[in-house]
């Protein structure tokens, strides 16, 4: 399995999707910086802290920009084996389809968590720039580290909700369907981000869980978790079932 994950990572060497995905997830810190500068000029008396910035950034990270980036990389990881016709080279080695799939999901998890960490670090850096120019209250590494586990947890939960898109990528063997799906999902997330029903919608439930807001929606945490795990399990199972039985044409 270690070999499989190593090879999955090696496959990404020189791949344009790496700088594209990093640029994509760094848009969140950039948006936070723009928002902070705008707030500074519009309401100079308004005082906000590094924690406030991280708190706002979770919404962008989990519901908007990062989610679309993660759907794109999930689609890329799985569909490229079809578009580059590499499965017919790899499978007869032999590599078990189950192990190959598992290796890909592990790499996806690793990549998503890494990108969430990049976002977390990016926010710390842009807040440092803001702090140097305008002064940001409570700007310290210790505060940033307090937010680190939330970004890790957020990454894991977001990974769980990508499995249906992986299935779509496997079925359509491309980016288009998953990306259209992700746009729909993001629209839904934006609509439900402030609604109690958001606790029942897997892609906003992850956000509520990380923010610790589930209880305030009136729904039990176990229900939100159950919905996320159910969605994830269905996505994994359908992907596995399809890939395991698929004839390569």
């Amino acid at each position: 399995m270690r070999n499989l994950i190593y090879c999955e990572l090696l496959k990404l060497k020189r791949s344009k999707i790496i700088p594209i995905s990093i640029t994509g997830v760094l848009s969140t810190p950039l948006l936070m910086l723009l928002e902070a500068v705008q707030t500074h000029y519009d309401n100079p008396e308004f005082v906000f802290t590094l924690s406030d910035v991280y708190n706002s950034s979770i919404l962008y990270t989990m519901l908007l920009t990062n989610m679309m980036v993660y759907v794109a990389i999930a689609s890329f990881l799985f569909s490229r084996e079809y578009t580059e016709s590499t499965l017919k080279t790899i499978l007869p080695i032999p590599v078990s389809r189950t192990k190959l799939l598992f290796g890909k999901f592990c790499s996806l998890l690793l990549w998503i968590v890494t990108l969430n960490i990049v976002t977390w670090a990016g926010i710390y850096v842009v807040c440092g720039i803001y702090h140097a120019v305008f002064t940001l209250k409570e700007y310290s590494l210790l505060v940033a580290i307090e937010w680190f586990p939330k970004f890790l947890l957020g990454g894991i939960l977001m990974f769980l909700t990508t499995s249906p898109f992986v299935f779509a990528a496997g079925i359509t063997k491309g980016f288009v369907a998953p990306m259209i799906g992700s746009a729909v999902i993001v629209m839904g997330s934006a609509a439900l981000a402030n609604q109690e029903w958001g606790a029942l919608y897997p892609w906003t439930a992850t956000f509520f869980l990380v923010q610790g807001k589930i209880e305030s929606t009136g729904y039990p945490t176990a229900l939100s978790l159950g919905i996320i795990f159910m969605l994830s399990a269905v996505g994994f199972f359908m992907t596995y079932h399809h890939f395991k039985r698929e004839d390569l044409k």
Binding site: C7, R14, E84, L87, P92, I93, V95, L248
Partner: protein, 305 residues
Amino acid sequence: MEFIIETNNLTKRYGTVTVVDKVSLHVPKGKIYGLLGRNGAGKTTAMKMMLKLTFPTDGTVRLFGKDYKDNETAIYNKIGSIIETPGFYGNLTGYENLYILARLRGQLCKNAVLNALEIVGLHEEKRKIFADYSLGMKQRLGIAAALMHDPELLILDEPINGLDPIGISEIRSFLSKLSHDNGITIFISSHVLNEIEQIADIIGVMHKGRLIEEFDIAEPHKRNRKYIQFDLSDGHAAAEILENHYQITDFTVHDNTLKIYDFSHSIGDINRDFALNGLLVTKINTSEENLEEYFTKLIGGGGIA
């Protein structure tokens, strides 16, 4: 005889379309088996089923004397393959692509990768990105990937596609050498008769999903079929005379041209009988039917395209 590949009634259907229809072929150990057929004959699908890329609807595949589902790792570690145009990662170099395959196989010796690249003449291009390779180079890298782990069986689907004439000649010589010097069994498909004819020991012919002929190329009567040709006034009457008077059945009649492949009777006797039965013979000659003509006749149409 020990068979490295043996299929029994191998069948693949997509919906109502039968792509491979009850194919039972036999590839003996140490031989080069050429699978010949027109585009769409079912060669690639048959090979994909042997490599578990596609699942059979019916029938069995035995590799190295065992069912191909038993002990897959041991069986497939002894096989190198190319199916159609080889697929590699465009963002990686030739070396990195082969290195990934070696890692996945558990073959950690870097020399194996370099040796394979050297064999196919790509050692000086090892740092070139695969996306920048020419079609011929891609094909060579596919051959290197197939050979890298010293396989006992090579399954090669149209491996010379995209190669220039010199490259084709080199690969042909190399495959012959591999088989004859190292005892590697090679199962190779092509729609180009000349390529198969020059290296294969055994030829299988597929047409519309079915294996319609399987024979040893050394059999002279198959390779070059000699015949006596009569041009006469009534071909069908002549056919009756052959069957009734001489019990000859190995002949063909087309219009008023009769071709007899059975040399067990004297041409003079047959000619005299035709004349005594009122047939006017305008031409007699002996001729040879080459392999290409034979296959054209076998699979119909205007040749193997």
